[in-house]
Symmetry: C2
Subunit: 521 residues, 2 copies
Amino acid sequence: MEVPLSPLGLVARGLRLYPGRVAVLDDGRQLSYAELQRRLELLSGALGRLGVVPGDRVALLAPNTLEALECYTAIPRTGAIVVPLNTRLGASEYRYILGHSGARLLLVDITCYARVEEFLPEFPDLTVVIQRGRIDGRLNYDELLWAGPSLPFDPEAVAESAVLSLNYTSGTTARPKGVLLTHRNTFVNAVNMILALRLTADDVHLHVAPMFHANGWGLVWAALAVGATNVPLPAIDAQDALRRIRDHGVTTLCAAPTVLTMLLQAAEEDPPPSGVRLAVAGAAPPAAVIRRVEDELGWTVHHFYGLTETTSFITYNEPPQGIEQWPLLARAGFKARQGVDLPLSGHARVVRKDMSDVSPDGQEMGEVVARGNVIMSGYYRDPEATRQAFAGGWFHTGDLAVRHPDGYIEIRDRAKDMIISGGENIPSLEVEGALYRHPAVAQAAVVAAPHPHWGETPVAFVALRPGKVVGEEELVQHCRDLLTHFKVPSRIVFVDELPRTASGKIQKFLLREMARSDNKT
Amino acid sequence: MEVPLSPLGLVARGLRLYPGRVAVLDDGRQLSYAELQRRLELLSGALGRLGVVPGDRVALLAPNTLEALECYTAIPRTGAIVVPLNTRLGASEYRYILGHSGARLLLVDITCYARVEEFLPEFPDLTVVIQRGRIDGRLNYDELLWAGPSLPFDPEAVAESAVLSLNYTSGTTARPKGVLLTHRNTFVNAVNMILALRLTADDVHLHVAPMFHANGWGLVWAALAVGATNVPLPAIDAQDALRRIRDHGVTTLCAAPTVLTMLLQAAEEDPPPSGVRLAVAGAAPPAAVIRRVEDELGWTVHHFYGLTETTSFITYNEPPQGIEQWPLLARAGFKARQGVDLPLSGHARVVRKDMSDVSPDGQEMGEVVARGNVIMSGYYRDPEATRQAFAGGWFHTGDLAVRHPDGYIEIRDRAKDMIISGGENIPSLEVEGALYRHPAVAQAAVVAAPHPHWGETPVAFVALRPGKVVGEEELVQHCRDLLTHFKVPSRIVFVDELPRTASGKIQKFLLREMARSDNKT
């Protein structure tokens, strides 16, 4: 017998088995699984009354809230495709995505409405529903929900190979691309999460990673499948995160490395409970940050690697036997590697241009490519980009990595972030790793600036920890002690804060523009 | 992207990631994952040279050995269908299964050869290969293996919906039926095992359950997927099992309840290390046995429920938060329930004859039915039995159960083992549970005997613990103290040993015959 492999089936099990457990804790609001089920059925009914049919695109623009969580879970029940919108985009990107996706319904949190209001008249056929507030002339989410009747859900009524979501990439270099993820992709990713984080009904998961990203949302599915409690964090606010961790007995969370540095900083004033299992993802975490999290917070770091195009994660740093007894420094260095294939993700390789495997010597660099059930079905309405991404039958990540003799892969850089100076490769991550080892450095990003003689030269942007002082000269000397000479930044720019995407990734294209326009070397 | 969901993909990952770890420990023989991979590729090559092609049925008659483990893993790589033969059948059953399955190749362990030798001339087209020994005129397994060349394996070359194995049910009442299990069935079951037993590369699994049963073999897939060590136990010998547990640092095993009573008995002389995670399956375990395992051995019991037709398990006794702190008696009683749906198994229900759900009151009995990706595709060449098994679109287990208010199901009896006396249902398991609570009782089985007035009456067969003595009268009084009067056995027959199937299930049909022919009531 075959029944559809869909995260909706996993969640249906969670709703069936754990009616009395707490499903969502959103400050004042506490919902049991039975109450969540009631709301999901009401929402399914409301979507049906709005005319949503299978294959429709339904866009959602919201921070991490109960409403977002239930929309991400209920929209696919109708057979419609969720289009999650990043809350930090500009009006032109929202306009592009709404047009490209052909969305017929937009659910928008009141706090985000101003970002889309102006151009909405261009989409006369788009139905707009406001969450957590009221706008004259617009539908209100709660009213819609409670108007009834509700619609029960049959987890076998969805098609495994159908598209569940259309996630637009952040588009740091080009127009956003629409990543098509199927029910089956999403199911396999959720099971990987349950396995790798060992999630159970006893867990309380703080949703730090935005749910509009594949990794944030993936953890909603995983947590609801096992009957865990979901605590949405509506904004990346480190104090608020630490408060919820303490107040709600949080056991697991997932965050990008830059969010970790914010948590570490806030924790200096207000130390959180130890013992949290922390999934780090979204960018390569510097070993120094991992070390601080394990040492200063007493949390266990679980490192995951992947892209939107891989439903979130392909590899993870599987803990070798006894690693928790290793010396802190060795452990943090090891955990900075992206690791090995997740149990169900498929097969990730590091390959040369001719698609042969690099030697597993920790030296030879190649591109990470992968095949497996977490790989997207393609880019929406973009056959050319899809063809390029799947050249040679493998999905190309655009990440450059080495493979160590023990089989663990380690990302050296995004292909486009690699600095090439006098014919030598300078991985920006390596230079950043050195900067992070300086006690005054809170955040660091290294990009290429044009250079008349060498072609490119590394320029570092650094934000210092509060109360710490260090000059450019001292920091350059610190790098000289740790790096080959040509990798040492030719200039260091001190900034208050690095520009970040909604998921906490540093926006290097902005830094490159700054380095280019401001080039004095 | 979709790639086939097959346990072969899981194992390919294990072979890729853990080349240096110990894959199999078979007394004198120790194989790393790299060595196992080499042998699997040699075996695949050998099967190809014997002309095995996709869809062929390949039968295997062997106890739990390295050879059996590698055959179960390598045969499906060729696209052929494994037909595992129970080592305890009679010649007429082997003859039936070989004929019905149309097997073209039989791999047979030297210790089992005598059971089939006589009738093999009836199968002139069947190629026979002898394992762990030599028979004149027959092919030898090792010679075949090392003749080379080997054949590498592409985990994407199998079809997810293709049949992986054809498992014949033990046929206690009728002719054996051939259960068709697909790659996808087997994949989902293996992932369930990894999740529920929390298997990792650090585990050492003792294969007590025979690999020719779906549950034993399922654990081979699960253990190889995560890089754990496999210790095959060739015969159900409690002393030998305890020795291997100690010598090899065994952390997990799976056994039927009757095997547990044997282990408990042997452990009185020779206490094994504590801390083992014990999966109990194959029959409903009496609470008294669970209590003894947790109390006397210090092991943790994980209770699974399912049938060959469900690839092995549909439900498990998911441990509620803090259960390990419960009083022993309450904990054992709870763990005797068959529990809730496994994470990926689908949906098990307890239904009335009209397919409506029984009330979850722990009282109303109904049949366990299920849908999901662990359910077989059907019975081979038996459309009528398949139709009956799937009446109403749900697979019918033939097990009678109640559902408790917390959602946990509890099997009351096999439908065919229920005793009906004067119009009252007497679940044989309930009477057995009472008998097991007497300190002198090692094994107990209760069956119906014909009765002129009441229709049926319960008769108990009891084997005592060594050195213990109890009379029929005392045991009947013990039952009177615990059971409603009409459930008390009308007669108790003391035996040295209960007749068991290869998986340790008590053969109640034999006891029923004894009770019938020997009826003095």
